[in-house]
């Protein structure tokens, strides 16, 4: 073994010995992380090269799954398009919305702020609350929106919000936005609180004239770590969106209009008994998310 490598290895062991306590504290989380995240990812990558229908043992087929995925699967292309539309719209929008709300709430007195935070955060907690949207957007002429529109004379027949391919994606994007005020929202609120007040004062002395300048020159730079964390969370979570779509529009949705990559994966994995192919999709999604995360980190590093 080369001298350099040996030195590195000894370095690691020495490091552990020196920081025994730290490593010990990390171990429980590390263990869980390895068992439930690292190992399944590795297994998925390996199994994505097989044909596996869950019931019978897997059979190695090489690059076949990937070939089919990129060259032979129209529905995958539809799902990629849908997912991108989703992400491009919901990702930045919800990111900005999270920040905007956090910024607005920052100035309220603490009690009111807690109440409002709760109200805005709660939808993201209980995933089943989206059922109320099912009632609101129901295609029955007695559904809430349809009922009002019919009553006001704006339409004649009920609109099938969740079954009409032209409207489905819009509705789901809306619901997704509503439910997206999650962890990043809380992070921003905390982040805003942690900014040192003295910076604002000194900024006022230095010539900052209004709230917007304050935001751009002081608040945002101070919050860079939180912004990055929030961005990664928000944008990458939009790639994995599937629950809301499946519950509202069905899986698969009519004409695949609200079909996302995650749903495509679940379709192959659980409905069609082609788990090997589903894992290939999962691997592709994983790599894609990795790339996007790196890009975001790069972008936000450069911003000054």
């Amino acid at each position: 073994m080369s001298a350099k490598a040996k030195k590195q290895r000894i370095g690691l062991i020495a490091d552990i010995r020196n920081n025994k306590i730290s490593y010990l504290l990390m171990t429980p989380y590390l263990l869980l992380f390895i068992i439930f995240i690292i190992i399944p990812v590795v297994i998925s990558v390996i199994m994505s090269f097989t044909y596996y229908n869950i019931i019978q043992p897997p059979r190695f087929i090489g690059w076949e799954n990937y070939r089919k995925l990129f060259f032979d699967d129209d529905v995958f292309m539809i799902s990629v398009k849908n997912t991108l539309v989703f992400s491009v719209i919901t990702g930045p929008l919800s990111y900005v919305a999270c920040f905007l709300f956090a910024w607005l709430l920052n100035d309220l007195n603490p009690k009111v702020r807690s109440v409002m935070t709760l109200l805005l955060y709660v939808p993201s907690l209980s995933s089943n609350v989206l059922y109320i949207w099912k009632y609101i957007f129901s295609g029955d002429s007695y559904g809430l929106i349809n009922g009002w529109l019919l009553k006001l004379g704006l339409i004649d027949t009920p609109l099938l919000f969740l079954k009409d391919p032209t409207m489905m994606l819009g509705v789901i994007i809306f619901v997704q936005l509503w439910m997206s005020l999650g962890t990043s929202f809380l992070t921003f609120i905390a982040g805003l609180q942690s900014i040192d007040r003295s910076h604002y004062e000194s900024g006022a002395i230095d010539g900052i004239r209004n709230r917007w300048q304050e935001l751009w020159y002081i608040t945002l730079p101070e919050m860079k770590p939180q912004l990055m964390f929030g961005a990664i969370l928000q944008i990458t979570s939009t790639f994995a969106v599937s629950d809301i779509s499946a519950n509202l529009a069905g899986n698969p949705s009519p004409l695949y209009a609200a079909h996302t990559v995650s749903l495509h994966m679940m379709d192959y994995g659980t409905t069609r008994y082609e788990m090997g192919y589903a894992l290939a999709i999962a691997v592709v999604l994983f790599l894609f998310t990795l790339v996007v995360t790196k890009i975001i980190m790069r972008l936000l590093q450069e911003k000054d």
Binding site: Y51, D107, L150, P158, L160, P165
Partner: protein
């Protein structure tokens, strides 16, 4: 900034809540209460009959009609043995002729006995002189006597008591002919002029044995004062408490009155925190008027006893729930005839009071019986009247919507006052009646106004409609909501639920036992049950055995169904074949996939979807059952349409469990009004739709594509099952008819069938028979008798024949290939799907859960023995002969998916049906080929 944020926040919250607040929530003035109410006279009802004969005399005579004097019509099969008449079929008429000397009102009493062992009540129509005097006598019910089959309650090997099997035991009973809905408390008083008369009983359901009929007077119950006087001055040697445990009821009128395990209070006797030990009776199961339970008890020393009942009534606030108490078959005094159980979320002790004094009952030493009967008592008048009002209002509503449509244009003047001249009058009379009703209910509930409040809101809203008839179209939806409120009110108000723990008789100066535990006792008990919850397995059902000596069955059923299932298994399968069964409940099918992947699936799984067996079978996860010894016999119990979805490439991978198919539901009253006959072909149907749409009504059809495909003589796949052939000319025709429902006739795609059927907006709809029927019977009592089931319309072929095929949906039973108990598992399936077991299960499940849980067994013979009304059974049997099964092949999920996509393209984008269908059939075929290649099957077409 702060202000802006606050304003934004508040307005956000308001916006979210705003649309949900219903308008028209007016404040109600508190009306006076009134303490009496008359029955609304309804034509053809007993209320009218009674009013007509108000001033008749009540002659004190008895006319006995003996069994041997009966005359049977040809259809009735009767035989006379030793003074009793056995009427063994349910058809025909049995009549008696007699002469009446003194005109007046007589009551009819019957001495009868049940003649078979099914649970359904005996139903007969009662006629006087050849006609039915009022509609309540169209269907008079006589209950049977039910008891626990075994003397002792069995315990499973986990220490839990098993719900005792209920059986009917034929016993002689004497019963008055009375209203079994409890609206009229006393039996029906029948008027006879002096002279010759006949009384006829017409068969409706269930055989029976009759000893005699009697026309006599109904004895009046004495007041407590006269009772007390009559038993005064005796020696009081009462010493000890006599406690009768309610769960030990010996006789019941219905199998749904089985003992319960109430674990919410540690003073419930007997109490166990760990195991299911029965300690109460009733609850939601004791909700029908007339249901009774009877106990026997011994009195050691005669004396005066006071009575207490430990109960919980947390069902109905504001309206008193009543029990009638008979001791040794008699109502000793008035207070026992209407014993009120008040509302409270806690357990209470109710005592007998007459005014302010306590009532004492004289009990002789010896053996006695005690019977508690559920009764509607004073609220019955309100229920009856509101039911009548609801029917009237529904009629008004449907007349209005025939002019305005369901969502009227608020800017249009429909001239309702001119086109419906009697409108305001009718509404006013209903409002007046409702006002009286609400005042009466206020009085009854002693000021607790919750039940009256909903009625007050209803009539207030109608008052605003009367005040301004031009505004009625705008208020139409509220009007409809209010009608729905009234009918829900009827449903809940007629339920007489209460849970009873024990009944106690105490000597005069003994204190009543403590009803509820102290704070610490209850706390300890709660902690105990929390601790126990860590050790108890809640998914197990019944007896549980070591995995090596039992077959494991996983069921996709609800808990009550599974409990009943297991009881029958432990009771009848295990002893007969000496095989133990472990049963677990699973929540969804996905669990099975994972269990197969993990390598430990059960032996048998039951209640699965139609598609699963072939998918699993091809992947060798389940066995091919056609190789089993009694396969052909078992399969012969079902329609071929039930088995064909499970057959593929010569193997059959499952046995059917339940089967359902579409049927048409029709509101006969609305259709008669509009002069529409029940459609038999799709042409008739479309004509009917046009007439309905002219009147702003509509129909609903769902999932008919499969049915239409079969009706046009098309098959899904070619013979070799290698390609989909729906794009044949016949298939295209089916698809075009299907899309035309929605594109040409604009039938709604999404709708709530039940509610629209009730209001009459959707007088025809086609849906799955099992869920449609079950839902309709329970949730729409106000339209009882106004609707019927009919076969789905058929397609007319060129040669004139009508094809009425429909597509069936089945659930399945499979055996997993990893089983080590193949023989035993097959025995289990063979036994479970046999006729008698299916009938027993169906009857018990319905007895326990009510008519809303009617079991749609796939077994053809068993269906006939379930409590269907004859006319409904005929329709179902007729339709069942035309049921076809949709073939399941690998990739058939693609078929459903793409047919729906093709439909969406036509509906949303206006694409031509031919183009869409062809395009998507190609997709389907690609997938089928791919799947066949996956399994190395030939792909020749």
């Amino acid at each position: 900034m702060k202000k802006l944020a606050l304003v934004a926040a508040v307005s956000m919250v308001l916006c979210c809540i705003g649309p949900f607040v219903p308008a028209g929530a007016a404040e109600s003035k508190s009306p006076a209460s009134q303490n009496t109410l008359d029955y609304l006279i309804r034509e053809g009802s007993y209320s009218e009959y009674r009013a007509q004969h108000e001033n008749a005399a009540y002659p004190d005579r008895e006319i006995l009609l003996k069994a041997e004097d009966a005359l049977s019509s040809e259809e009735a099969e009767t035989s006379l043995t030793e003074g009793t008449l056995l009427w063994s079929n349910e058809r025909g008429t049995v009549s008696w002729s007699f002469s009446v000397e003194e005109s007046g009102i007589y009551y009819l009493k019957l001495r009868y006995r049940s003649a078979n062992d099914t649970f359904s009540d005996i139903l007969r129509t009662v006629q006087i002189d050849g006609k039915v005097p009022f509609e309540e006598l169209e269907q008079s019910a006589f209950s049977k006597m039910v008891k626990n089959r075994d003397e002792e309650i069995q315990t499973d090997n986990q220490g839990n008591q098993l719900r005792p099997t209920q059986v009917v035991s034929p016993q002689w009973q004497e019963a008055w002919v009375r209203d079994d809905e409890g609206i009229f408390a006393d039996p029906f008083g029948l008027y006879f002029e002096a002279g010759e008369h006949t009384v006829e009983l017409v068969g409706v359901s269930q055989p029976m044995e009759i000893e005699w009929l009697k026309l006599c007077q109904y004895p009046k119950t004495p007041t407590y004062e006269s009772y007390a006087q009559s038993v005064a001055g005796k020696e009081d040697r009462a010493e000890r408490e006599i406690r009768v445990q309610a769960e030990e009821a010996l006789w019941k009128s219905s199998p749904s009155l089985y003992p319960l395990y109430a674990r919410d209070n540690c003073y419930n006797e007997p109490f166990s925190v760990q195991n299911t030990i029965f300690n109460a009776i009733g609850g939601y199961n004791w909700r029908s008027n007339g249901d009774w339970a009877e106990w026997e008890f011994d009195v050691e020393t005669s004396g005066y006893y006071k009575m207490g009942i430990r109960f919980k009534q947390d069902f109905l606030m504001g309206i008193p729930i009543v029990r009638r108490i008979q001791i040794d078959g008699e109502y000793l005094f008035e207070e026992l005839e209407s014993f009120a159980l008040d509302y409270d979320t806690a357990w209470q002790m109710a005592t007998l009071q007459s005014g302010q004094e306590e009532c004492y009952i004289w009990l002789e030493e010896g053996h006695h019986t005690l019977r508690l009967t559920a009764a509607l008592d004073e609220i019955s008048v309100a229920v009856y009247n509101i039911r009548q009002i609801t029917v009237d209002l529904l009629d008004i509503y449907s007349r209005i919507i025939m002019i305005t449509g369901v969502t009227p244009d608020t800017y249009r003047d429909y001239q309702l006052a001119k086109r419906l001249p009697t409108l305001t009058e009718e509404l006013q009379s209903n409002v007046d009646a409702l006002r009286d009703m609400a005042a009466y209910i206020r009085y009854l509930s002693g000021g607790e106004a919750s039940e009256a409040h909903s009625i007050e809101r209803v009539y207030e809203q109608i008052e605003t409609m009367i005040a301004d008839p031009d505004d009625i179209p705008a208020k139409l939806s509220y009007f409809k909501d209010n009608i729905t409120t009234l009918s829900s009110w009827i449903l809940t108000a007629s339920e007489t639920c209460a849970t009873i723990d024990y009944i106690t008789f105490l000597p005069k100066n003994m204190d009543y036992p403590q009803v509820n535990p102290g704070f610490f006792e209850q706390l300890w008990s709660t902690l105990e049950s929390f601790w126990v919850s860590f050790f108890k397995d809640y998914s197990k059902v019944g007896n549980s055995y070591d995995a090596t000596e039992a077959i494991s069955v996983w069921t996709l059923l609800g808990r009550e169904q599974a409990d009943t299932f297991k009881t029958i298994v432990d009771d009848s399968f295990t002893p007969k074949y000496d095989l133990n069964v472990n049963m677990n409940i699973i929540a969804n099918e996905g669990v099975l996939l994972f269990s197969v992947a993990a390598g430990n699936p059960p032996d048998v799984a039951l209640g699965l979807s139609q598609q699963l067996p072939v998918d699993y079978g091809l992947r060798e996860a389940v066995l091919d059952l056609s190789t089993m010894d009694t396969f052909s016999e078992v399969v012969g119990r079902f329609s071929e349409s039930a088995v064909s979805p499970f057959a593929y490439e010569g193997a059959t991978y499952a046995i059917p469990h339940t089967q359902s198919f579409p049927i048409m539901f029709c509101r006969t009253d609305v259709l008669d009004n509009l002069g529409i006959a029940i459609p038999k072909t799709w042409d008739d149907f479309f004509e009917a739709v046009q007439t309905l749409q002219e009147r702003n009504l509509t129909t609903g059809v769902t999932g008919l594509l499969d049915t239409l495909i079969f009706q046009n003589g098309c098959s899904y796949y070619n013979d070799a099952m290698t390609a989909c052939v729906i794009n044949s000319p016949e298939g295209l025709k089916a698809f075009q008819t299907y899309t035309s429902f929605y594109t040409d006739y604009s039938l709604p795609l999404e709708y709530d069938a039940v509610n629209r059927f009730r209001t009459g907006e959707m007088p025809i709809f086609i849906a799955d028979y099992s869920s449609g029927y079950n839902t309709m019977t329970i949730s729409a009592p106000e339209i009882k008798g106004l609707w019927t089931m009919a076969p789905v319309p058929g397609t007319v072929w060129e040669d004139g024949t009508i094809d009425g095929s429909v597509a069936g949906v089945t659930t399945s039973i499979v055996i997993f290939s990893t089983t080590k108990n193949q023989e035993a598992s097959w025995r289990f399936i063979d036994w479970w799907t046999s006729d008698s077991v299916q009938v027993r299960y169906g009857n018990e499940v319905e007895a326990i859960m009510g008519a809303g849980a009617r079991y749609n067994s796939a077994n053809l013979e068993a269906m006939k023995d379930l409590p269907w009304k004859l006319e409904d059974l005929e329709v179902l049997s007729e339709q069942w002969e035309t049921v076809k099964g949709v073939p399941m092949i690998p990739g058939s999920y693609y078929t459903t998916r793409h047919l729906d996509n093709a439909f969406r393209e036509v509906y949303t984008y206006g694409e031509l049906p031919r183009n869409s269908l062809t395009k998507y059939v190609l997709e389907i075929n690609k997938e089928i080929t791919k799947k066949r290649q996956e399994f190395n099957l030939s792909t020749e077409q």
